[in-house]
């Protein structure tokens, strides 16, 4: 069995299509591009490929990954060319490489980096920096998570601080702050960027213009022989 590990981007144009939509898009794209994808058995055969992680609707990304199982060898460059020829504007294959990894991408995944554009009624660089410092200086940031189990609503407190690796300001101009952050992603712990935005929004004496927030994922990182690297 051959598995191609593929990096692709989901641009601004298509940030509003969901995870499931994207799966369907690739299913059709493989067929149109004549990629020898392996199919599952059974009455409803579907092509075998899996994403590293889901991307929330409304978030674009320069670094998404998937593993694609093939039944025939195909040159990774040919794969990239054939796919990009038929993919819609907004989705582009960036890299592809055969992998021997036994573990799924999802299991290997550790961190994501994001760029977040925040618009405030009013903000200064010092104020923004103090908000970030405040978050990073804490040992514990508790949020309440609710889960519905049958009819019961279960709430529990979760410390999200370990899931935040870094936050830095890239640009601050005219009440617009563009920050970069690295957050925990994957089965061993996960923090959505929206939760971090919520933390910032809840700080005192600032007013975030909610519907102007833009989030973009830059890349994903896995752990390989104890090192943190990109998957391809």
């Amino acid at each position: 069995m051959k598995t191609l590990r593929v990096k692709f981007k989901k641009g601004n144009e298509l940030k509003y299509i969901s995870h499931l939509d994207l799966m369907r898009l690739f299913q059709r794209a493989f067929r149109r591009a004549n990629i020898p994808v392996k199919y599952s058995e059974g009455y409803n055969p579907h092509p075998k490929f899996s994403f590293a992680t889901a991307l929330a609707v409304g978030v674009s990304s320069d670094g998404e990954y998937m593993d694609v199982e093939l039944i025939k060898d195909i040159n990774p460059d040919v794969f990239i060319d054939r796919m990009n020829e038929i993919l819609p504007e907004g989705i582009k294959i960036l890299k592809a490489k055969y992998t021997k990894s036994k573990k799924s991408l999802m299991a290997l995944l550790r961190w994501s980096t994001y760029v977040i554009e925040l618009n405030f009624k009013s903000i200064t660089k010092d104020k923004m920096q103090s908000i970030i410092d405040d978050i990073l200086s804490k040992e514990e940031i508790l949020i309440t998570k609710t889960k519905k189990k049958r009819k019961k609503v279960i709430t529990r407190e979760v410390n999200i601080r370990p899931n935040i690796k870094d936050i830095s300001i890239l640009i601050l101009k005219e009440n617009k702050a563009i920050i970069k952050t690295t957050l925990r992603t994957g089965s061993a712990g996960n923090l959505k960027p929206e939760v971090l935005v919520e933390q910032i929004k809840n700080k005192e004496n600032i007013e975030l213009i909610d519907d102007e927030t833009k989030i973009q994922r830059l890349d994903l990182f896995i752990e390989k022989n104890g090192e943190i690297v990109t998957p391809v």
Binding site: E13, L14, D21, Q27, R28, R31, H46, G58, P88, D211
Partner: protein, 613 residues
């Protein structure tokens, strides 16, 4: 163009924003500078429903193949998106260029279902276009409509400027050509309407006046000018293989209701079921050849990558070379793991063989449509199914490994008695017994019989067009009767909302007077009436009361043969004489043969096809 930045903010707040972004592959982008005529194809329901409609894809591609025409799409926004549009003062816009629909030359609605009419008004209003035809200005777009419901166009006569009756593949281009000439001449809208009113299939409601008798029925239809045609003949396409069929279909991003390639194998139906409007209005039967269907399917698969092809027609089993077509399609697409769906099959033994072939790739439930519970009533409606056939087919299907069966029935058919209603239970239970009579080792899976009974709505141009529809109370009584007696873990029973079917009945056979009802109901907030979570019957009831219009006059009244019906001025080819004869035969329980076994004299071949069917 609407403000994309504001749109971006709104999209974050709504459910399934992918419905509103456009940009799908195979959608058409043109430079507006090269365009003479802009056409907005408007579907009065959400994207997920509208994109599943084959007619949209045909007309969209047909129009866009012309250099000077640009056809774009617009759908009814779901309520959350509508709220945001109104709050932010964004007019309803097209998906392709994000232009307000007011900027178009035409807004073309397809009328698939009477209970989507309020959405038409809502979409016009969201586009900042006056609801009533007479209130629209010279610079406003023409509102044009086609589809099966235009066979009774009168209920929308105040709203729509132009109706296109019949198959519009040729007609729409003739209209576009005249529009281009007219636009250059800088004349009034009425000049354009006068010119196209001479084309076969075009109906301009504002060119006619209707007077009424004291009892509320129609007295006379008067053309306002001598030159306006008294009878409007539907349009048909003579040879299907020669007509346009798209070789590309837009690939939607969001999941739509029928997410597959739709391949139209033929039009029309020869069976002559007496309740069925499609069976009458789409005559005669015209098939596409196996060769051209294969060719088309290959192109469509290449262009879309879809995982399923669905053969589309009114009665798939009646395609003359079905076995050959299915075998060839399976051979062609097995490798690519493309499934084949055959809806509208009559489940005789022949069809089961074909289904078995297909199901080697994908297995789904089976659907049978006996329509009525008793043999007597099935004869009344000319549904040539004998109980024996049905039981045999079901047995056959169970032996082949199926265990999920759906049965479709109607309640409220003409002459229906309590015994006929009980028949629905009896037949459902018999199907169950067939399963358990099989030796245990032959049964596969868990039996599930789902019987559903919809409420019969008499439709124009059917032999039952004169019959009173059951009242809401009568429907409810029958539904409750069945709910009380169908008590079995293996048999599910479903019904439809009788109030909705009643309104459908009013608009299906309404006249110009119910147009006011529609407008007022919409003003009260009615929209998406076909969606049970939004449907608000109380508002409709209030509307009828306030306008002092009795809905039962349209739905529940028995009409005489000599009454002038609102749709009588349309000629569909099938004659009124034939419909009367069929109705009389129905009342006596006499069958009419399938017209492939010999002409039954409906009239289509004398008026439209020059002798051939």
């Amino acid at each position: 163009m609407i403000n994309e930045e504001i749109l971006d903010k709104i999209l974050k707040k709504v459910e399934k924003p992918g419905r509103y972004i456009g940009r799908e592959q195979n959608s058409v982008i043109k430079d507006l500078n090269d365009i003479d005529t802009r056409f907005a194809f408007a579907f009065p329901d959400i994207y997920d429903v509208g994109m599943s409609h084959l007619g949209l894809h045909i007309l969209y591609n047909l129009l866009n193949k012309e250099k000077g025409i640009y056809c774009e799409r617009v759908f009814a926004p779901w309520v959350d998106f509508e709220d945001e549009l109104r709050k932010n003062n964004i007019p309803l816009f097209s998906l392709e260029t994000k232009s307000p629909i007011k900027d178009f030359d035409f807004i073309g609605f397809t009328l698939q279902y009477e209970m989507s009419y309020t959405n038409i008004l809502n979409m016009l209003d969201l586009g900042d276009i006056a609801i009533r035809s007479k209130d629209r200005k010279e610079k406003d777009p023409f509102v044009i409509a086609g589809g099966p419901c235009v066979y009774n166009p009168e209920t929308l006569s105040e709203i729509v400027d132009i109706f296109v009756i019949g198959e519009s593949e040729e007609l729409i281009l003739e209209i576009m050509k005249i529009h281009k000439e007219w636009k250059k001449e800088n004349k009034y809208k009425v000049d354009f309407l006068e010119r196209i009113s001479k084309l076969q299939g075009v109906y301009i409601p504002s060119f006619y006046e209707v007077t009424y008798k004291e009892d509320g029925t129609i007295k006379e239809r008067i053309p306002k000018k001598e030159s306006y045609p008294k009878v409007i003949k539907k349009r048909i396409i003579k040879n299907l293989d020669d007509t346009y069929y798209p070789e590309k279909l837009i690939i939607p991003y969001v999941e739509i209701v029928h997410d597959r390639i739709m391949l139209e194998i033929f039009r029309g139906c020869t069976r002559g079921c007496r309740f069925c409007q499609a069976g009458m209005i789409y005559r005669p039967v015209r098939e596409r050849s196996v060769e051209s269907l294969l060719e088309l399917s290959k192109k469509l698969v290449d262009a879309t990558g879809h995982e399923e092809i669905s053969l589309s027609s009114l009665s798939t089993s009646d395609y003359s070379r079905l076995d050959e077509l299915v075998t060839k399609l399976i051979d062609e697409f097995k490798e690519k793991r493309i499934g084949l769906a055959l809806p509208s099959l009559r489940l005789d033994s022949f069809s089961l063989e074909i289904i078995e072939k297909i199901q080697k790739i994908r297995k789904t439930g089976l659907t049978f449509a006996p329509e009525a519970g008793s043999q007597r009533l099935r004869d009344v409606i000319n549904k040539g199914i004998e109980e024996e056939n049905l039981i045999d087919s079901v047995k056959n299907a169970f032996e082949l490994g199926w265990s999920t069966v759906k049965l479709y029935f109607m309640i409220g058919l003409p002459t229906e008695t309590k015994e006929d209603v009980y028949g629905i239970k009896d037949l459902s239970y018999k199907v169950k017994e067939v399963f358990f009579k099989l030796p245990r080792e032959k049964r596969k899976g868990n039996l599930r019989v789902t019987s559903s009974a919809s409420c019969f709505v008499p439709k124009p141009f059917t032999p039952f067009q004169w019959h009173p529809q059951d009242t809401i109370d009568e429907f409810k009584e029958k539904q409750n009767l069945l709910k009380d007696i169908i008590k079995d873990r293996k048999v599910n029973f479903n019904t439809h909302d009788a109030r909705l079917s009643f309104l459908e009945g009013v608009f299906a056979r309404g006249d110009r007077k119910v147009c006011e009802v529609l407008i007022k109901a919409w003003e009260k907030g009615c929209k998406f009436d076909g969606w049970s979570n939004i449907f608000d019957y109380e508002k409709w009831k209030q509307t009828f009361d306030e306008l002092d219009i009795d809905p039962s006059f349209y739905a529940n009244r028995k009409r005489d043969y000599d009454e002038i019906l609102p749709w009588d001025f349309i000629s569909v080819g099938v004659t009124k004489k034939y419909l009367i004869k069929e109705n009389e035969k129905a009342l006596k329980g006499e069958l009419t043969k399938d017209c492939r076994e010999g002409c039954t004299g409906c009239g289509i071949n004398t008026k439209f096809t020059g002798g051939v069917c």
